[in-house]
Structure formats: C-alpha cells, structure tokens
Symmetry: C2
Subunit: 197 residues, 2 copies
DNA sequence: CGTCGTTATGTACGCTCGTACACATGGGAT
DNA sequence: ATCCCATGTGTACGAGCGTACATAACGACG
C-alpha cells in the first residue's frame, strides 16, 4: 500500500472525473469509475467528494476554463477596433473545430444544470463570465443576447449533427450588435430598422 | 393475471416514460420504473422497447408536440401583419410560464441528444419544424437564427434560474428580423460592415 | 377445431451502484 | 515524545440495473 499522504489527490480526482465524463458521459460517472481512473481506492473518492454532485460542481468549474482559454488566446476580442461579430464567430469555430470531446464534455456538464440545482450557480458563473467579457465591448443587453445566440448555435451544431457555419454565425451575431454611436451605455432598443437590413 | 391482450400498451408505455422522466429525470428512466409507472410487468417493457434509446426516441418525439401545441394556439404567429418578435416572445413566455415540469422534460430529452446519437434525428426534426414555421414569416437564415436565440434564451432561464424577461426577448428577437422590404427571399448577408461596429 | 406467430408474464443471473464502517497511518500540535 | 485528527484503505451490504429465457395466453387464419 504505497502512496500514502498524497496531497493534490483531490485535484487528481477532479481531473479523473473530467476524463471519465469526456469518455463515457455523465451517465458513466460514479465513485468507482473515478477511483479507477485516478488509480485510488474507492473509499478515497467518497471521502473527498461525499456526493457525485460535489464532484460534478468541481469538474464543471474546472471545465469552464476551456472556452475561457480559447477566448483569452484571442486578444482581438478585447480590441475595440476589431470586428466583434467576426472575431466571435472565428473563436467559436476554433472551439467547435478543436477536440470535439472537450466541447461535448463542457456542454454536457453545463446542460446537466437543468436537473441538478447544485450545478446552476456554476452554470450561471460561466454565462456571467462570458457576458461580462462581452459587455466590455458593447452593452449588457447586447452581451446577454450574444451569449444566448452563441449557446443556441452550439446547441444546433452539437444536437443535430449540423456542421458549424462560421459565415452564418458571423451574420447572426452582427445583427445583434447595435450600430456604432448607439453603443454609448444607455442601452439599445431604438436602433433604426435600417441598421438591421 | 388480468389484462391480457392489451392493445395500445405500447402507447401507454410511452406515456409512462414521459411521466417518469418528468418526475425523476432521464437518470431515473429504466425498464423497471416505466413498467411500474404503467403498471405492467417488467418483461413487457423490454418486449416493446428493447433498449432505453428506443423508448427515449418515442418519448422525445411525443414530447416535442408540447411547444408545437403552444405555437398552434397562437395563429398570430402565421399572420404576416403581426409583430413577429413580440408574438414569439409572448409565446415563449407562455410556454416557460406554464407547467415547468413539462418544459424541463422536453428540454431534458432534447438535450440528451448531445450524448445519444439515436436522439439527434428527432432533435433535428424539432429544430427544422420550428424553423420551417418561422421561415414562412421571414427567410431561412433568419428563421434558423430565431430558433438559435430561442434555444439560447431558454437555456439561460432553465440553467441559471434567471426569470424569463419577455421584453428582453422581444428586443433581441427584433434585432434578428430584417426590416420589411428586405424580406424578399434572397436572404440577408450583405449588410455593410459599418453595422457591425 | 387446430396450428402458429405475436404478445404477455415471471423469474433468475451477473453486474454496478451508493453507502457505511472498521481499521491503518502519518504529520502537526502540544 | 505523545496524542489526535485529517486522511487513506479495504470490505461488505442491499438495492437497482439490463438482459435472457422458459412458459403461458391470445387471436388470426386455414
């Protein structure tokens, strides 16, 4: 019985949980599968995470950083001069085009909040995080709308096996962003219809 | 051992499955729970639905009619004179404001398509169905965009415990609909870059 | 009436699960 | 040096699961 006194075991369990969900889905997540993946005895997982919800909260919180990393790798998203819709569409394409397993993993944990109230605060954190990032470039209402449509486009791609269409995404995102001059913080709502067509 | 020769048993099993998912979620769906809910022996569920995927496909297909019913109850959605964004926002509010269990049920089955390829065609049917309905009022690209943002708004409400804001939804939907006169079927896509900031 | 295929029923096997608990261990406080 | 508690380990129990299968009833059809 080696490996006594293993600090960071908790972290290794989270990593293992993420790998398990990535490979077998949430349905395949159990104290035992995580223990096997992390190569620790069963009792260890139940000790560090009494319930599977606890484990999922930790996993979702960590998985959320996946999209954030892609975003952080694109400083253009923070550049007020850049074409925001085009940049967003590109970043989304990069994320969806990358490792599909990772994308499905993040979304599965995210969507699990529907039935697991424990996950909802974490899901909200993510939405607020992305929203805050976008709000710096537009206004709060537009930011929320952009997050919603990003979510919606991802769902369509992931749930219906439709390939991602970056040009389509760019177009849709562009319609949500008010014309310059309207973006002064007083919020949108009165943009002339001409701006949308 | 009464009730031999029970036609429509298959249908009753689907109904039972929907009730089970509504009450305990997909995680609580099993041949046994459905059998108990429908008050039939275990062997009967395995006979009519060899796998749980079969049962879920049938259930999702039937559950999909929930939103369709709400839509059908609003003929204004087909009226070319009506304010489409406002009507959509109202219908969505009605659906989300109604029996929350039913909404969660439909969405849970819908989202399950992420990990169950068998459900993806059914999920796609739903998206295409709503899309076709909206395409009659605008153009295909706008219709897809509206479906995406409807999905996104629902997600935000269901996943983050945020109350539904009809006025916000109306505003966002309105930005996606091209101004009248542009809606001639050639589709959008050529709006000047200036509109994007 | 008799036959046959579909539908219905009951039971059993092997597996995984969450949970509980008794025991071992080792490091930090005293 | 000693004690104590957080941490680690092994095992067992009862429950639920998918699946398989032998058997029984029924209705259609000749």
């Amino acid at each position: 019985m080696p490996r006594r006194h293993d600090p960071e075991r908790r972290q290794r369990l989270i990593d293992a949980a993420i790998r398990v969900v990535g490979r077998k889905g949430i349905a395949g997540l159990s104290h035992r599968t995580v223990a096997a993946e992390a190569d620790v005895p069963l009792g260890s997982t139940t000790y560090h995470f009494a319930t599977l919800d606890d484990l999922m909260v930790a996993a979702l919180r960590q998985a959320n950083e996946g999209f954030a990393k892609v975003v952080a790798a694109h400083p253009a998203l923070s550049d007020p001069e850049a074409d925001l819709p085009a940049e967003l569409a590109r970043v989304l394409g990069e994320w969806l085009g990358g490792d599909r397993t990772g994308v499905e993993l993040e979304y599965e944990l995210y969507l699990a909040a529907l039935r697991r109230p424990a996950l909802r605060p974490v899901a909200a954190e993510w939405a607020e995080g992305v929203g805050a990032l976008l709000a710096a470039r537009t206004d709060p209402v537009t930011a929320r709308a952009l997050v919603a449509v990003l979510d919606g486009i991802c769902l369509q791609v992931l749930l219906t096996d439709t390939p991602y269409d970056e040009e389509y995404a760019r177009e849709v995102l562009a319609r949500l962003v008010p014309a310059p001059g309207t973006r002064d913080g007083r919020g949108p709502g009165s943009l002339p219809p001409a701006a949308a067509g």
